[in-house]
Point group: C2
């Protein structure tokens, strides 16, 4: 095993002090001279025709500098980005949809102006239930949308329009034979709910325009280059006419890949020539952003007497909301979670269905927690039916290196069995939850992680420190892990590395900070940039120390001849020479990476719960999460990711949901839409397993999304263990639990 | 001659609109939340002992957050930077020297606090005249400074302390024989005056401290990395603990290489933990910055009957002010101006003398205008004595390729003769100034220009545009000329290039924007960065177009097979591919340059004047400047530089001066210290001569400093032509002209 000096260490986040002291700057914190305040008029109806839209009174109000409607949005050259807002033109399709926007000299006037916009609506029946929406006689949300069909290799469109935008069916083996050969076959329907991603910072955007009509944008996105592309598309201007500034992001968990405000703020800024800031209220943020979708998953699985899975057939109905723009992949995630196990005969059907709800967006391992809720609940039921230990049942069916599922490539080196065994050992060692109405559940998850092009630049400074310039935003501590990589590469102290997040003009391109990719993908680009600079330093050191440029190590701030600590020269000296009278110029390095291969991640989690049978309230007594992280570049940061993901999973399991009445959300605030607080959460124990992926950087695997996947099922399985009843719908509120107990 | 698409074009400055609309941000424009206001206590005496310094009353004033004196300045590891302020400890050495500084919640309180600081001074006689200061019985400013001697190859120190800090003597040939063989020998003493560099923006600095004690600085310097080094030295912290932000610079002309405020603001920010801003008043800026030095130049020259110069002996006394820290080079500049001509026998003596005036600093071609004033006035007098045409006399003696002077290398390809002939032609063609008291003068100048390490990074954007990231600040239009180089390299439109000036953390190292170096030195780094990126683009294009990566041209936004316009692929496509699924990652390029060789620049200028013999007032009727620019990357920007330099030269010639009484400046304001306005200036005609230097980039020579050099002498020669009297002292105010006329 390689000995590292800085990698693998529990170093504090470089942004910790700024965040703890309130000094970190978010887009909403920024104000510019002469700034206007924007406000968006949103539909109060889930489904309605707009008979008339009259903005004249709003425009006439003193202090109003601009009012825009769909008429003011330039025509896009190509199909407009699904990540930009759609100002309603003839119809509104969900309550919260933007219709118009105002820029005024202060927020009070902007709010008043919005209230002066006259809209004459003709209400239409809202389509709120995905099952209902699929029916041939359902109200059609779009009269001209036909189902995109991909059934067993055949592609086509339906003859009649439909609310089903996409219908796909794939399979392998012989599904009928698979079930025929089974000893136990179980079929269950699981319901997951739409949830808000639960970020703390409401959506916010500030746009300014310079005299040459170049637009500068500060917004809460985690992909500055994506904001640039979406705004350029919305405004129909070249991307080089937009600059997106780096600011801290107050949570996203996938949601902020959509940009409901930045393009509107930019258009208002272009119309007025003045900076325009728009910040959503919490209520707007609930109704007008992009929640994770609800799904209805019908899963049939069979096992033989020995506990081998013989077949699985799943049908997923995913309620994607008002537009065909979901970013998560209900098909891919369903395949993933079924890929936890060797299943010789498989059938997967997925239906994406539009309804009159806010268009949905990605949420930390999009759709995977939904699929795992079904698969891992079902696995628990099958183990019970076979009277097998749930871990042993999974161990028996667990995939291993070389196995392959449908379209996926064969698994490379993976740590699933190791994680299951680690959890088994943990369960055996710990104090079991004794007593009435207490129980334990386990569940697993699998995530492929994704790649993305990234680039990095390093500058070696005359004092031997190094600065790293990147364009990726930091959600999870990536500045810290990348600083560790730089420090390790140059053999310098961690605090001699400064990581700079540049704007989209200054920094090289980087894909959005999503898909758990930055430490891994950017990490490769960073290593290449370091190597580029190190090669130059070694070429300068070689004549000084009279050895070949390949004979060096970088350690303790020096370039040192391998095996000869007494023969060395400091980075500082080399850099000072380089910019001195006879030097060849400043030492900088660049590194880029394309969409680099990724390694799958396996997680196993367990929950101990206690259920109050009087009230239905579930208390999580303890929780543990095992994860194959490949190599832990910073164990503390990874543990934080795991603990945060489990906390979010517990929220989705026990409390969070959108409550609608006639298409209108009834609980758009943090009192009525409860997310877990510290009081709701147990200590979340973590176990990091390091089965090196064999892939750069350093064999590290993705960490941010995978621990989100199994929590729903782990808690459901624990409730079953505690009470004997099976919850198949989310959230498992006290009311729902009580109702299920009473129904048995 | 190479055909260029973007180079050589008169493109508008990229910062023109920002500057014209007032949108450009200067350090004084920036305010931060919680910011304090700093004020400096300055000595009212030119020379005094400090018997007692008591800040207790200032500290006790409500709203005062910190008071610092020399006691609070950390001890520097090495000899402190001559570019940082020196808080007086036991003595004050010039009126305006900082003694203490205050940070308070508003400026009024800061000013009051400064007035509450009690200083008990013991006045000493100020040493204000350099000739007096050289005398053995002069008052000694430092009791422990001895003269650094470098006399004809011998080095040493004087036995007794002295106000002369440096005495140097060099020569070539046989000076006595040279004068003996002369037909005419003239000796004259020329006096140049100290002048303010005349920048519009008073000195300003803002410093902030983050929770990790990292200091961020916004200041009016043109060398961000230099500010970093000077502040780190002053504060005795590593340079990586300082970040200097790029802001626009409201003129410098050399002065702002010194940092009288930034280190003080940084120390106050560290003491208080809050941002601290200090902006000088105009009066402070006159008394407490670093004017160009005054010199007394005694020049003896001989010529033979044919007009060949036989010998020159010069003695320069340079009044460098209160510290031994002058950045300009009185010796080097004197050598330069004598290097205009073949002089077989040469003797040069230089004395740097300290006085109780503000320490001097560089001013556009430091010391060269002073030397040229003497040399070119003397050349005019010699031509008159020989009854030769002043241009023919210069043509006869002008240096050419291969000539060498003392320590300098032989001249490379130069355009001096071309410039003289161009001016001769101009003088013949134009309408001569007829009438009484009118006359014409010409003068020449030579400047070597300087190199400096620089680095650049380019990013090629998915729309085929390019961004350039540099760390050098733009005083003269360098963002524009560098953007032209990038556009030419990539074969894209000028407005598809964005130039970003990064802070010292984000941008690669660059030397201070001085020495007329950025377009030339950074231009090389930029070309290398472009080539790095172009090589990658060509490697990507090669398999697509089935040719070798070396077979491409970059034109019209495409990578095109040489000679086959139909075989091409757009930059946009290549970049989109590179960040796409099968790409190798974003396309970026880096380029660095060390201290690159430079090429000398020759200038010839002429003035037509009319002198009012009643009042002594000199009116410049017309002015023309010819300059060998090598290759004009942007003729408009070069013409602007020439016109600006001549305007400054006219100011120094006719009006600007520091008036002292008992060591105190009497005219520290823009009413009493007149700099020229548009009403004082003629149209300044320009002639660009392009004798390619043979040196990268594109044979371009330095342009910013050289046109500053001959103006003083050109006007003096014109006055002589108009009136028959010779002005040998600057400035040639109406009073001085009248006095000289009356004395004849």
């Amino acid at each position: 095993m390689t000995e590292y000096t800085v990698l693998g260490k529990r170093l504090p986040r470089v942004d910790a002090q700024d965040k703890a002291t309130g000094r970190a700057m978010y887009s909403g914190d920024i104000s510019l001279p002469n700034m206007l305040y924007g406000k968006v008029l949103r539909s109060p109806y889930a489904h309605a025709k707009i008979r008339k839209l009259d903005v004249s009174k709003a425009k006439a109000l003193k202090g109003v500098m601009a009012v825009i409607t769909a008429e003011d949005v330039p025509e896009q050259k190509e199909k407009s980005s699904p990540k930009s807002p759609r100002l309603a033109r003839e119809k509104v399709l969900y309550a919260g949809q933007p219709i118009a926007a105002v820029a005024a000299i202060n927020l009070d006037i902007a709010v008043e102006a919005v209230s002066l916009i006259e809209v004459d609506y003709e209400e239409l029946p809202p389509v709120m239930d995905a099952f209902e929406a699929m029916k041939p006689d359902a109200v059609l949300i779009f009269p001209d949308v036909y189902t995109n069909l991909q059934v067993l290799g055949q592609t086509g469109k339906t003859a009649a329009p439909s609310n089903i935008t996409w219908q796909v069916e794939i399979g392998s083996g012989d599904i009928e034979a698979g079930f025929k050969g089974a000893y136990v076959v179980l079929e269950n329907i699981f319901h997951t709910q739409a949830v808000h991603q639960g970020y703390l910072e409401p959506r916010s955007a500030l746009a300014a325009v310079d005299p040459r009509r170049k637009v500068t944008i500060w917004t809460d996105s985690h992909g500055a280059f994506g904001v640039r592309d979406v705004c350029a598309d919305f405004l129909n201007i070249p991307i080089s006419h937009i600059k997106v500034m780096p600011v801290e992001v107050g949570g996203s968990f996938g949601a902020k890949q959509f940009h409901p405000l930045a393009p509107i703020a930019a258009l208002l800024a272009l119309k007025t020539g003045r900076p325009v800031k728009i910040v959503m209220t919490r209520e707007e943020d609930f109704v007008a952003t992009s929640p994770a979708p609800a799904s209805i998953i019908t899963l049939k699985m069979g096992v033989d007497k020995e506990g081998n899975i013989t077949a699985a057939a799943v049908s997923v109905v995913c309620d994607i909301g008002a537009f065909n723009r979901q970013v998560g992949d209900s098909l891919g995630s369903t395949i993933q979670e079924l890929s936890l196990y060797r299943i010789p005969n498989l059938s997967i059907k997925v239906f994406n269905v539009i309804t009159n709800k806010a268009p949905t967006g990605p949420y930390r391992a999009p759709n995977a927690a939904d699929a795992a809720f079904a698969v891992e609940s079902q696995m628990d039921l099958l183990a019970r039916a076979l009277q097998m230990d749930p871990i042993d049942f999974r161990l028996k069916n667990a995939v291993a290196e070389g196995d392959r599922v449908i379209t996926n490539p064969p698994f490379s080196r993976i740590g699933f069995t190791e994680a299951l065994l680690k959890m088994k050992d943990y369960l055996n060692r710990r104090d079991k939850p004794e007593g009435k109405n207490r129980g334990t559940g386990i569940a697993c998850g699998l995530w492929p992680a994704f790649g993305g092009a990234c680039s990095a630049q390093v500058n070696v400074t005359p004092d031997g420190s190094v600065t790293l310039l990147i364009g990726s935003l930091d959600l999870t501590g990536t500045r810290t892990s990348l600083a560790q990589i730089v420090a390790e590469e140059f053999g310098i102290a961690f605090d001699l590395v400064t990581v700079v997040t540049g704007d989209t003009d200054a920094a090289p391109y980087s894909e959005v900070s999503a898909g758990s990719k930055i430490t891994r993908q950017m990490g490769i680009a960073v290593r290449r940039a370091c190597q580029d600079a190190k090669d130059q330093l070694a070429r300068q050191a070689a004549p000084l120390l009279k050895v070949e440029p390949t004979d060096f190590s970088f350690t303790h701030g020096n370039v040192q001849v391998n095996g000869m600590p007494e023969k060395s020269v400091s980075l500082s000296t080399l850099v000072r020479n380089s910019i001195g009278r006879f030097g060849s110029g400043p030492i900088t390095g660049r590194g880029s990476v394309g969409v680099h291969p990724t390694a799958p991640i396996f997680v196993v989690q367990m929950a101990d719960v206690e259920v109050d049978k009087e009230t239905g309230k579930v208390k999580i007594l303890s929780y543990a999460a095992a994860q194959d992280v490949g190599f832990a570049i910073n164990p503390s940061l990874i543990e934080g990711q795991i603990q945060g993901a489990v906390a979010q999973g517990i929220g989705r399991t026990l409390m969070e949901e959108y409550v609608f009445q006639n298409g209108i959300m009834q609980n758009p605030n943090l009192l009525d839409y409860r997310i877990p607080t510290a009081a709701d959460l147990p200590f979340i124990d973590t176990m990091l397993i390091e089965v090196g992926s064999g892939i750069e950087p350093f064999g590290a695997r993705a960490v941010g999304e995978p621990p989100m996947i199994p929590t729903l099922a782990a808690v459901a399985n624990a409730i079953h263990s505690a009470t004997g009843v099976r919850l198949k719908e989310l959230p498992m509120t006290p009311e729902a639990v009580l109702k299920t107990i009473q129904a048995e």
